[in-house]
């Protein structure tokens, strides 16, 4: 039986993926956090990606495939630690993969790496430069991770590597940044801006990751759900109430509050509420025939506030 290692298995997306894969292959997990009551077919190892014990895990278990989900995407931790876990963790994981005979690797990056700018074309393809750090330096580690993994595809052609860049992930269990944002009691928006946004359901993303693994895909892929809606519609449909704020006043305020740790999002995140970051899923659609099961209404109604 094939062995798959999932980093960040205790996160919501990791759990979904582990359950999805457990039927067909042996699933190993690595995470700093435990997964209490994990399903019996799944082994969870409480290790840190940056530590020797993680390397030992790969050396002894020799997984055939690795899915890299072990990122810190929120800003609650110290920025240094976050950078370390994301960039260094990925770097070491990539090294281990070459050393211990991993055949396939899937790195789940995100669509945010393109950055939100007024000059963004609609439905960007994968060749668009990753410019998020220009206006949103707090996620430059995620951009770096994406670049590391994308370069790895070409530097190690013997390992079938895929980098997935999903759009906003929503669902009943995931704690994505966008989910936390939409769960706020009053959802702040920037006055006079209402960009088109894309969403994908957590199950559809799980399926996309699993199929990437099973179909042995190689390359960089945007992963999109069904269609796009204006942000205000998304807020209304998820049961939220929007709060329109004038940007010139509130951008500096949010910046200050973020610095003090009283507000979860840096000011750069506000650009994603202003400018469209819509991705073209054509390449992924052509590479494997998986289609999203959830329409936008289903995504919104499955998402619990």
């Amino acid at each position: 039986m094939e062995k798959v290692l999932i980093t960040g298995i205790s996160g919501a997306q990791g759990r979904l993926l582990a359950r999805r894969l457990a039927a067909k292959c042996a699933v190993l997990g690595a995470d700093r956090h435990p997964w209490p009551m994990h399903p019996p077919g799944v082994e969870v190892h409480p290790v840190d990606l940056r530590k020797k014990r993680f390397e030992n895990l790969l050396r002894t278990e020799r997984p055939d495939a690795v899915v890299h989900l072990g990122f810190i995407r929120h800003f609650r931790t110290d920025p240094g630690v976050r950078h370390d876990v994301n960039v260094l963790g990925t770097k070491q994981l990539l090294d281990h993969c070459t050393r211990y005979g991993v055949e396939r690797l899937v790195v789940v990056s995100s669509g945010y790496v393109y950055g939100a700018f007024p000059e963004n074309p609609y439905y960007m393809d994968e060749d668009r430069p990753l410019s998020a750090s220009r206006s949103y330096p707090e996620i430059r580690d995620l951009v770096e991770v994406d670049a590391l993994a994308s370069a790895f595809i070409w530097r190690h052609p013997e390992i079938r590597t895929s980098v997935l860049r999903p759009v906003n992930v929503l669902g009943p269990t995931v704690h994505s940044m966008i989910a936390e944002y939409l769960r706020l009691s009053r959802v702040p928006t920037m006055m006079g801006f209402n960009p088109m946004m894309q969403f994908i359901h957590e199950d559809d993303l799980t399926e996309a990751i699993a199929r990437t693994l099973e179909d042995r895909l190689r390359g960089v892929f945007n992963v999109v759900g069904s269609g796009a809606v204006p942000l205000h519609t998304a807020i209304r449909e998820t049961g939220g109430r929007k709060l329109s704020l004038p940007e010139p006043l509130f951008r500096p305020l949010f910046d200050r509050l973020f610095g003090l740790g009283l507000w979860p999002y840096p000011a750069g995140a506000l650009d994603f509420l202003k400018y469209p970051v819509t991705l073209s899923g054509r390449r992924f659609r052509e590479a494997c025939d998986v289609r999203p099961e959830y329409g936008l209404e289903e995504i919104f109604s499955s998402f619990r506030r």
Partner: protein, 382 residues
Amino acid sequence: MSESLDATGREPPSSKTRSPGRGVLGADPFADPTETDLAFDPVEALEARQQTTATRRPVEGAPSGGAPPTVESGAEAARQAGVVPKTVRRRASARTPRLREIEPPDPANVFERFLSDDERRRLAALEHLVDEDAPYDALGFSPQVARTAFPFFYGLYRFYFRVESEGHAQIPGRGPVILAGNHGGLLPLDGAMTVLDVLLHTDPPRLPRAIVEHWAGTLPWVNVFYARVGQVIGTRENFADLLDHGQLVLVYPEGVDGIRKPVSQRYRLQKFHMGFVEEALRARAPIIPVATIGSDDQTPILYDLKSIARWLGLPALPITPTFPWFGPLGLLPYPVRYRIVYGEPLDFTERHGPEDAKDPRLVRYLANQVRRALQRLVDRSR
């Protein structure tokens, strides 16, 4: 898939359990996974949908006995059995019905009572540019918003600028077309009037999608308004996509240089951006020069304080006979009479193919030809 979902205790959704539209997102326009991005193209979407229809459920009446049909044979069987609807979507101007096929809708508000049947038919035609019952298209165009904004711009068109126009026969009824115009008058009302003029005089009605300067994307409200009335913040990728999907694209190749030129340069074309020629070659689209007379007189710019404008991050800071002396009101365009003239299409497709778009000298030469044709048309129409 279903196994894992069962494990988490949730129902896998299927087309059967899909919740009916609640009227907020319409009938869930985006529910079909094949419509993920830029779904203008009816043919591509039809093919994609045939594939999903075929893979999702065995087709009733399909000749294959029992065995689930493969993608290809399933799609073929579906086509033969006629289960795949012939028209899956109403989108793209190429598929807009002709005027006489549209029922004039009841007036939605007081203003629309003053419109003729013909004009109300044209408003109704806007609904055909998006999916059935969908409030938005993939680029954020909303027929409802466009319809709400229509009376205001129609008032400007009829009573303020008193637009006269000629040469509509030059605009093809379908397929990718580029309208290239002369820009002027600080506020891009020449664009608005041209969009309206084309919408009011083509059959089937076509909605030009203007390529708008990036800077407009940073303006609150303005950016949303542009998107909702079908105008597109300009990037080459969007331009190419629109043409690929058979849209009518309006460009002002002079860019902001056109609208901020001083009064001494009125009706003199400024330097052209040449990207539109490359896209025309690539998409094999004809270029129709469109001259707008009047726009350059609506806000005569005596002097442009360029350095201060740059410091403030504005495209221009003009001094006009009324601005800044009357405050922001001084920027209102004067009620000049507009004249819009469509010239003969320049069709380069016979002699040049898409690969010629890579030849910068040829592109410059062709752009100059467009420029000369447009300048001639402007001079003749004044």
